[in-house]
């Protein structure tokens, strides 16, 4: 694996009982890249992210993340990745700053280092005025921002965002993307899933999953060209139709 890649998978496969959730995924993500994983619900996006984070064990195949084998060295991987789950996973009964203190502490930041980093995150994500507010009382957009702050407390090399902007208003989405772009500009690679095609268009590279199989990957332009369709939206709709036809046929 060369030093410019943060994710490299070979034949990654996951089976739940008798259902194949992911079939032989080969994927490469480079340092500082914003990589979008697209596909209909149930196409295997979340399963992929969970395996790459070490939350699920692959049934077969290999995955190297930030230079380590996910199955053999999950703890080494965890020091250098950040993860935002689909569902808000922070403590609602803690305040904004308590959540940040907790996560920076768990990632090993102590004393002055932790204080400076928390101040920096509050400033950068504009969370300062809300720092004493309980997480439960934040609106969707602010919750997402807090989750992003916690996931990046340790300045990870790679950030996994599973549908980070689902249910968030357009203005918050816009701000969220500006933050993501800023992280990427500083060298953090980002692997995200989304159902918004305007967001997909902002990714440098995309991969389309259909029923657990990778069917296309490349830049947004390469994808539209590959399918001979004018927009990503239409590619997505076309793929969804195929997926549904496939389910009916089966």
């Amino acid at each position: 694996m060369n030093s410019g890649t943060v994710i490299e998978t070979q034949g990654l496969r996951k089976v739940f009982g008798t259902r194949v959730a992911l079939e032989g995924l080969d994927l490469v993500v480079h340092r500082g890249e914003i990589f979008g994983l697209l596909g209909a619900n149930g196409s295997g996006k979340t399963t992929t992210i969970r395996m790459l984070c070490g939350l699920l064990a692959p049934t077969s195949g290999q995955a190297r993340v930030v230079g380590f084998d996910v199955t053999r060295d999950p703890e080494k991987v965890r020091h250098r990745i950040g993860y935002m789950s689909q569902r808000f996973g922070l403590y609602e009964d803690l305040t904004v700053v308590e959540n940040l203190r907790f996560y920076s502490g768990v990632y090993g930041l102590r004393g002055t280092e932790a204080k400076l980093r928390i101040a920096e995150l509050l400033e950068e994500l504009d969370l300062g005025p809300r720092s004493r507010q309980l997480a439960a009382t934040l609106s969707g957009g602010w919750k997402q921002r807090l989750a992003l702050a916690c996931a990046t407390a340790h300045r990870p090399d790679l950030l996994f965002l599973d549908e980070p902007t689902a249910g968030v208003d357009p203005a918050s989405r816009q701000r969220f993307w500006n933050l993501i772009s800023a992280f990427a500009a500083r060298g953090t690679a980002i692997l995200l899933t989304t159902h918004y095609m305007d967001e997909a268009a902002r990714c440098e590279r995309l991969a389309f999953l259909l029923a657990g199989r990778l069917i296309a990957d490349g830049t947004p332009d390469e994808i539209t060209e590959h399918f001979g369709l004018p927009t990503l939206e239409q590619v997505f709709i076309d793929l969804q139709a195929r997926a549904e036809a496939g389910t009916e046929a089966a």
Binding site: C53, L55, S85, G89, Y91, D93, F102, V106
Partner: protein, 376 residues
Amino acid sequence: MTLLERMLASPFWPMLRKEFIQMRRDRLTLGLMIGVPAIQLMLFGFAIQTEVRNLPTIVLDESRSSESRALIAAIENTGNFRLRGVVTSREEIHRQIVKGEAAAAVIIPPDYTDDIKQGRTAVAQVIVDAADPLASAAAIGGATQAGNARSEALLGAKRKVEPPVRISVRPWFNPTLRSSVYIVPGIIGVLLSMTMVVITSVAVVRERERGTLEQLIVTPISRTGLLLGKIVPFVLVGYVQITVILLLGRLVFQVPMLGSMPLLYAVALPFIFASLAIGILLSTLVQTQAQAMQMGFLFLLPNILLSGFMFPREAMPAPAQWLGAMLPLTYFLQVLRGVLLKAAGPDAVWRQALVLTGFAFGVAAVAVGRFRKTLE
């Protein structure tokens, strides 16, 4: 990094701090953790009375003499019977016992006084509702006692005689034979097992249900750091519960505290720890908080029945004794009763302390081993 630096950098500390903040915010749960032992103590302490007094008793006195009245007085004086009326027929006795209005009946036949005067053995009858064995044992004991008392009085009135054999019984450690003296120390153990097991398993499962565990396990926190940070605050809760029950037990039930409190608190540590580890273990077997609660109560049942809390283990069949030997509560109860009622010292309880420490480490090892930092 030195060992100390590594310890200070452990994610255990932020975890511990977070748990304390959450505990402080959750006032209801905190109140329940202290209020529940107090309420349970009152319920158990007042309701569990294994000594039976004041059985409602009716009398059919067909002799109607001073002798028969003396016998009735002797029966009443045992304290096991409370006279609630006089009846005139055996049918009436049957009817009242069936209806539950009386639990015992004294029948003194017409020739009772004549027999005594003629030097024959006079026979009186006590009928007992033996459906409840505890009550009937008390009635049988009381009746025998009253019979002996009357015999001695009558014999003594004629000539001074001493019975050839007399067994002198001295009830040590609980001379008045009050159940609460025996039950209250046990309640400390039973309540600790229940609350410790349920609160830890619920606390872990709640993180899983709310999705916070998913976020937590992608961090570098170790399983041991995570679980220790989760359970250490509950050790303090356990000590608060012990103190609440001891104080109430002393004030309300006058339970003696003869032995060393530091010794009791020291041996409580491995017991609390073992109970918390059992809670973690249960959390790895269930998916929801409701299931965790049910498992907790399922665990409570053998603890109440087999640990010696209510029934003496010596009387149980061997398999029940073996099961009881697998419960930490069995050993902690011996320590509680030993220290509180008999002033047992370290020489008397070190074996139990050792077994409890073994439980604590053993169960914790299994629990940490079963706890997976994955979603599967």
